[in-house]
Amino acid sequence: MTALLTPDTAVEEPIQPHGRGRRRRPWSPTRWVVVAVCAAIAVSTIYPFVFMAFTSLKTSRDYVDNKLGLPIPPTFENFVTALTGNLGVSFVNSVITVGAGTILTVILGCMGGFAFAFLRFPFRAGLLRLIMIIMVLPVTVLIPPIFKVILDLGLVNTYPGLILLYVGLSIPAGVYMMATFFMAVPKELVESARIDGASPFRVFFNIAVPLARPAFITLGTFTFLGLWNELLFALLIMSSPEQRTLPVAITLLRQSVQNPTLVQDAIISAGLLMSAALPFLLFVLFNRQITQGMVAGALK
């Protein structure tokens, strides 16, 4: 393995992740401190998840008596209540809307980013900057006009309507990220294809797309996470109970302020835990792809 990393290797080998596999020396004390610090941070970031899990396994009464401790005995009644409260259907709705929104964003973002990096058209630089500014503008104050657009298209309370809105929310960031990515790719890769007279489509499918796989995953992850917990537009667009998404269903579990005696944290935690299960799972699955890195450095 070490042989691959010597500077005078002219073979096209995949780049190994930085520094891996070269550990043979015993660990220095600095190394131990670093590990300890990283581990301490990890413990602190894992804790909220654990807290959420514990809370969801307690009855409301147990939770109020003992907010931070272990759930003894654990109970699944919150999950039962949450599931009977439409959560199963909402889960599917979330998967459909957020999933489709993410996939479309990645596809369209990739195509758009490709256009900015490799195609030529007037106002190209200005347009990209404009997209960046649009990315930064918040949508909170623009809810009525955005809703009106969906309404005028006749897509209120439909899956395509919410999906379209989700794409609209994520695509500026998507195009911008893919454009930045493609512009950082070494020009030689595309040049050879250009000189050969390849069509844009050929360059796109044969070179750009394979190259962009790690970017897809990163963009997909960010987009998915951003949309999975999206509440307000989902509430606005989908009014039928069987079409509502997960965050909406969880919010509705919360009882009104009129009866604060009832502590809802336990039930909400159960709902949120189930909601967080999917992204978590996706993370664990896709983490392999992210770690593997990319093969773009085929030319050194």
Binding site: F147, K148, P241, S256
Partner: protein, 441 residues
């Protein structure tokens, strides 16, 4: 190529400008129609309780089934919405702008009604005299002589107390405090016995609202309260200033836990009382569930009113929520009928008995309720005897002023500002918000 591009962009910009202006003025032209609308079709109802309260849902399912039977051709689509005023406003803004949305909405009395009034229609002509007489709380929905909603239930404030702890402190459990001075005496005795006198947490500012409203009922005359409802009474003067001063008297008299300003109202603030460690708690009518609590239930009794500077002339209570008909509804008459239908005695009775929602329909009997909640007897008696109710004063503020009042009082309790300055800030906000709220730009 360049020139063509530039021209297209120019056209696009011009088009946007035209569309933009059209959108703006389009929003301005239409007036809410006040026709009755069709008696057939689907009525969309935004219900804030059906998503989270099974008992409420059970009653409403019966309501829907019966109403549909009585009105063939009508269907009810009851949509659960989160009980958060800001969210409802966002949804209503979007609906009002696009002139399409629900027919009937559940909102809060006074402030919400005033803010959303341009999107609501007066429903006086749909309310029969019998129906009007059977319900209380119309003051929270009537403005300019027109009624904009049907009040739902009764929600009010008072003090719940624990008789066992009173006895431990040497206080007579059958003559609970009836005035601020009584409270201060009780607090001294309770502190001496090592018991937290009044539970509660003011981290979100809840306590200052509830306490002020409770004391306001023992400070203002009914006439003054009526002036307050027109939002023309200044907060820097009596009676409001005196009510606020009463709150600070309780704080200074060590009636609360010393950590109260930093303790969240819920669940921590309540917890002490629920655990039987605090002797009193400011509570609302829908919290009579305490009386069935296994730990403290048998000891809990309720004080419906407290004298501050005068004997109370009214109870600090008003509509819990209201049903309002929207101006873009295509079924206005039908929606209004549904609203009144839902608040009939038999349905309010069911909601009281199964879920503890206090009724505002005079035809509801408290007999079963009192069997399981004997501590509420003083309140029930007052209501039966015809006690007047006025919406709690902290509900008679616009959201911004309410926020300012709550946060200012928080700062007073933290010792970072004076009560005088706090009330001045509140009053300044009221003056600023008055034209916005009352619609007289």
């Amino acid at each position: 190529m360049q020139r063509k591009m530039r021209r297209s962009v120019a056209i696009a910009v011009a088009a946007s400008a035209v569309f933009g202006l059209a959108a703006c003025s389009g929003g301005g032209g239409a007036n809410p129609t006040s026709d009755d609308g069709s008696m057939k079709g689907t009525i969309k109802v935004w219900d804030l309780l059906v998503g989270s309260d099974k008992n409420w849902k059970a009653t409403m399912d019966k309501v829907d089934a019966q109403f549909e039977k009585d009105h063939p051709g009508a269907k009810i689509d009851r949509i659960a919405q989160p009980a958060d005023p800001a969210t409802i406003h966002q949804l209503m803004q979007a609906a009002a702008q696009s002139k399409s949305g629900p027919d009937l909405i559940m909102i809060w009395a006074w402030g919400d009604v005033l803010t959303l009034k341009p999107s609501l229609v007066p429903i006086d002509k749909y309310i029969s005299k019998k129906e009007r007489d059977s319900l209380t709380g119309w003051d929270g929905v009537t403005f300019g002589g027109e009624t904009y909603g049907v009040p739902i239930g009764l929600q009010g404030l008072g003090i719940s107390y624990n008789t066992k702890l009173f006895q431990e402190a040497g206080l007579d459990p059958d003559t609970p405090p009836a005035s601020v001075d009584d409270l201060l005496t009780a607090c001294k005795a309770l502190n001496a016995a090592g018991i937290t006198p009044i539970g509660g947490g003011n981290k979100e500012g809840y306590l200052s609202g509830w306490t002020t409203s409770t004391l306001y009922a023992g400070t203002a005359t009914t006439k003054e309260a009526a002036k307050q409802a027109t939002y023309t009474a200044p907060f820097t003067e009596a009676p409001f200033a005196d009510a606020a001063a009463g709150v600070m008297k309780l704080v200074d008299g060590k009636c609360f836990d010393k950590n109260m300003p930093a303790t969240p109202w819920y669940p921590d603030g309540f917890q002490k009382f629920q655990d039987g460690k605090a002797a009193m708690q400011f509570t609302i009518y829908s919290q009579f569930g305490y009386m069935t609590d296994p730990k403290i239930g048998q000891y809990v009794k309720f004080i419906p009113s407290i004298e501050n500077t005068r004997t109370p002339e009214f109870l600090p209570a008003g509509a819990m929520n209201v049903w309002a008909v929207t101006s873009f509804s295509q079924h206005k008459k039908l929606a209004a009928e549904l609203a009144l239908f839902q608040e009939q005695a038999k349905y309010q009775q069911e909601r009281l008995d199964t879920a503890g929602y206090f009724p505002n329909n005079k035809g509801v009997s408290f007999d079963d309720f009192l069997k399981t909640h004997p501590g509420a007897a003083p309140l029930v008696k007052m209501l039966k005897d015809g006690a007047k109710t006025v919406l709690p004063v902290h509900n008679m503020q616009d959201a911004k002023t309410n926020d300012i009042y709550q946060s200012q009082l928080e700062l007073v309790m933290l010792g970072q500002t004076s009560l005088k300055d706090a009330l001045q800030a509140t009053e300044d906000s009221r003056k600023q918000q008055y034209p916005v709220l009352m619609g007289s730009q």
